[in-house]
Symmetry: C2
Subunit: 189 residues, 2 copies
Amino acid sequence: MDLLKEKILSEGHVREGNILKVDRFLNHQLDIRLLNELGKEFHRRFSHLPVDKILTAEVSGIAIAAIAAQYFQVPVVFAKKLESKNLDPDTYEGEVYSYTKGKTYKIRVSKQYLSPGENILVLDDFLANGEAMKGLIEIIQGAKAHFIGAGVVIEKGFQNGGRELRDQGHLVESLVIIDSLENNEITFR
Amino acid sequence: MDLLKEKILSEGHVREGNILKVDRFLNHQLDIRLLNELGKEFHRRFSHLPVDKILTAEVSGIAIAAIAAQYFQVPVVFAKKLESKNLDPDTYEGEVYSYTKGKTYKIRVSKQYLSPGENILVLDDFLANGEAMKGLIEIIQGAKAHFIGAGVVIEKGFQNGGRELRDQGHLVESLVIIDSLENNEITFR
């Protein structure tokens, strides 16, 4: 997706530890016109599949999923990371290992908002080691819903998440795949 | 806004402690068609004002702000609550007192994404005591930008936030105002 590549090259920044900062348009400030184009592209790539609901994880997946959902005309559910008094106690849970924090945390979706047999598309901003994605798939499986595929804005192709998911037979559509961030240089596949 | 009132009556739940749960369409599952109507309504109410940017706070303001921003054709910035290695150290900060948690926490926006003189519209899901709104206004003032008004989906009119802001001369547009949640009954103004 050329528009996205250009945006990443012009406004993204590489930081130590293979971190790509896209705060200027995707993670802190949101370029809504760009998000619309990403949403259209996700719809184009998944329009051959039945999608009943889009699942994402707070925080940075929410805007992407909400904008994209307009093209699918389905609701969004976002998994919660934070403990909250307001969250129903009755939830589907997934475990996510965080490499940056060196520990495992839980993400949760109220059992009210996922139902057996529903076709669930997962959308998220990044796919690296796939830890967040595994947690989301665990939630979908817990609900006996169908995980029909994952759409991610940026896949770090030099980490294992995307390959593992595809090896397991899952459909993964990444709008861009980055093969290297070495020497502060962004190399697209 | 009748559509929103009907949604609150049919899918909202009142919980002890004057809590209105709107998880089914606004806070956990997102009814994207409804969010579109809310976005259009915010635009109608603020279209006489210059808006350069929409500011909100993570988590529950993000989807509302992102969908609404399409009608304003401006970027969104969301203030971060969570400590994150990825956030710039150079931020504007606001303090938010949480009644549920009984303590004060900080919200932050990178100095890169708010500039002096910019006209900032704040959008959020709830306005109750106005603590989150005060933190966001503190951030706007720190940036020497202009706080031109606040749009909230649901104002709890029996708490002080909305009245205090209006008494200070601020423009506050609430799509619905709830005057009471007593006896598990929702009374709109």
